[in-house]
């Protein structure tokens, strides 16, 4: 990357025609590097360290994003985390890492003291479907839908034992009742469903969309193609996942204010 990271961010916001929106008045201060949904979209360990160095040199804080962890990826994951841990030890810093797998939490807490775990989106589970509002009588249960296991004290205490005090939330079609403490909020895309196989790869290589194998060499078809859904669903499929889109934070500043008062101290924008 030849340009500075800030320049690239501003360029992207201009392309999307949202650079003037009030939500972007502050400068970006943190980068989420990696991918929370797909192993094949993770950079190589050496590349990741270079990204981290560049981001650090330009004054950004960093969160490493890691997805679920299949057994066949344990060794490569351990190798990557080891390289990052060494870099952190030598630089005398700690880096955040999103935890989207229970095994990854076990690994990080036991073996990598320079990585600070934050609870990732795949483990912050709740109903997230744009069609929820059409379910019969669902409005009677909206309060219940705002909460999940993170609103239980015993669970918070359990996570604290593993060094997790920050949780990653997403804006979606219902309000999230935020747990005690300071947490993060992703917008405008939210994860609806993820597979451990890639349908797009399967479709592009063998005419089948399901039941096929792990990818040996990912071609990054998802950089060029997406799954389109009926427009009223505000949904898009990318690679192995389906994402919903919610423009709530762009259009309802009172909701943003409510989140901030509830403990959200970090907004993460995905372009």
């Amino acid at each position: 990357m030849k340009n500075s990271i800030s320049e690239e961010i501003h360029k992207r916001l201009e392309e999307l025609n949202i650079s003037q929106h009030g939500i972007f008045t502050r400068e970006f201060s943190r980068l989420y590097i990696g991918n929370e949904f797909c192993q094949n979209l993770l950079p190589e360990a050496g590349q990741l360290v270079e990204f981290i160095q560049k981001a650090g040199n330009e004054g950004f804080n960093i969160t490493i994003c890691y997805p679920y962890l299949k057994e066949s990826y344990i060794d490569s994951c351990t190798d990557m985390l080891d390289k990052i841990n060494i870099y952190c030890r030598e630089s005398n810093i700690k880096l955040e890492i999103t935890i989207n797998d229970w095994g990854l939490l076990q690994l990080v807490s036991n073996k990598f003291p320079y990585l600070s775990p934050v609870l990732g989106r795949l483990l912050n589970k709740r109903k997230k479907d744009p069609r929820d509002e059409w379910k019969w009588k669902v409005e009677a249960y909206e309060d219940s839908m705002e909460e999940n296991h993170l609103n239980e004290e015993k669970v918070n205490a359990f996570y604290k034992k593993y060094g997790i005090s920050r949780y990653e939330y997403e804006v979606h079609n219902y309000y999230n009742k935020i747990a005690e403490g300071n947490h993060s909020l992703h917008f405008p895309f939210y994860q609806m469903v993820t597979s451990m196989y890639c349908h797009l790869f399967n479709s592009c290589t063998n005419l089948k969309g399901s039941g096929t194998k792990s990818i040996k060499q990912c071609q990054r078809y998802c950089s060029e193609m997406v799954y389109l859904y009926p427009s009223h669903l505000s949904t898009i499929g990318k690679g192995n996942s389906i994402f919903g889109f919610s423009d709530v934070l762009f259009k309802q500043p009172d909701i943003l204010e409510k989140y901030i008062k509830s403990g959200i101290d970090r907004l993460i924008f995905t372009a």
Binding site: D129, H149, E152, K154, V155, M196, S203, K213, Y227
Partner: protein, 335 residues
């Protein structure tokens, strides 16, 4: 190796027991949950009544008597991905009442519920649901702190990966269960936050088509030539949400791993799960008969490849009904 089969109705117990079932699993929606939440807030992954869940405690008492008589145990699933604090208290009450009736094994996916039950000193047996999920040896090590007695491997876990996980805890008396028949979901249930109700189709059935992000891009042209064919195919091959029809029965039509039973047995899988709460009894009996027969063959057939060929010859006239589309273990296929 034992077969685990869904029990959707207490009247199904005896016919399925006669067919050779070793263990049942069922969902329970007691009245207090229905009154408070209906099925809009699901108690398990069958987010509807439709003959998929047992809906009274009196039915559970009847089932408990059948368990005493026939000695085929029943475990109960509370495998919703997420509950909240109020629901943990309600579930504690439900689980304690079920334990008083005689059920002590529960399939759980939400770590909050596991933490809550153990903190409350509720010493039930816990099976980690495929919806949790535990897909690697470190996750198994993580969950072992809760005194888990069985792990259900989620769909999309290969036999090689399961073997590695099982070997990491060998000798600890832990059981392992894997999927064998029906409803091979295209995604992973553990990461599926969408609706599974009877009012609307599942997200994986919503019509979709692949499009280029930039229409002028020539990258992946060769692949993109197939796309119009994919888009047409995907719209005509959508599976139906309709209940299974015994007149159209085809073994493994929507998910099958039956020819891999020998391989699963060899790596240490102790239980095979047939999916299908709400499935027609007649078709379920056919599923059970086929799987138990295959398990018996696997017990005597030394050679894995010969086993595969015998199964395909016996059940599929030497070819799988839908090749790799709904195969549970495509990574281990040599077809």
């Amino acid at each position: 190796m034992k077969t685990v089969v869904p029990l959707s109705n207490c009247e199904h117990y005896e016919p399925l027991a006669d067919a050779g079932v070793d263990e049942f699993y069922c969902g329970v929606i007691p009245y207090e949950w229905l009154r408070t939440y209906g099925v809009s807030i699901p108690i398990n992954r069958r987010e509807f009544l439709n003959n998929s869940n047992i809906c009274t405690m009196s039915s559970m008492k009847i089932i408990a008597r059948k368990v005493q008589k026939y000695k085929i145990p029943v475990k109960i699933t509370f495998n919703s991905l997420a509950y909240n604090s109020v629901q943990y208290r309600m579930l504690e009450n439900i689980i304690v009442r079920l334990m008083d009736i005689g059920f002590n094994t529960f399939i759980i996916a939400d770590i909050g519920l596991i933490i809550y039950l153990r903190e409350k000193g509720i010493d039930c047996r816990i099976h980690i649901s495929g919806e949790a999920p535990a897909v690697n040896r470190e996750a198994i090590s993580f969950f072992n702190q809760f005194g888990v007695s069985r792990y259900v491997f989620p769909r999309k876990t290969s036999i090689k990966e399961m073997k590695s996980c099982i070997n990491s805890v060998s000798g600890k008396g832990i059981e392992f269960e894997s999927f064998i028949l029906n409803e091979n979901c295209v995604y992973v249930g553990a990461f599926c936050n969408t609706l599974h109700c009877d009012e609307m189709v599942s997200a994986c059935f919503i019509p979709t088509m692949i499009r280029k992000i930039d229409e002028d891009s020539r990258k992946f042209d060769a692949a993109y030539r197939f796309i119009s064919m994919i888009n047409y195919q995907s719209n005509i091959q959508k599976r139906s949400n309709e209940p299974s029809n015994p007149d159209n029965y085809k073994l493994g039509d929507h998910g099958c791993g039956i020819c891999h039973i020998k391989a699963l047995m060899d790596i240490g899988i102790t239980h095979l799960k047939i999916v299908g709460r709400g499935r027609n009894l007649e078709t379920l009996i056919k599923d059970v008969t086929s799987v138990t027969s295959a398990v018996q063959l696997a017990g005597v057939q030394e050679n894995k490849h010969l086993f595969i060929s015998n199964i395909k010859d016996q059940y599929f006239s030497n070819k799988c009904p839908k090749a790799a589309s709904f195969c549970y273990y495509p990574e281990d296929n040599n077809c």
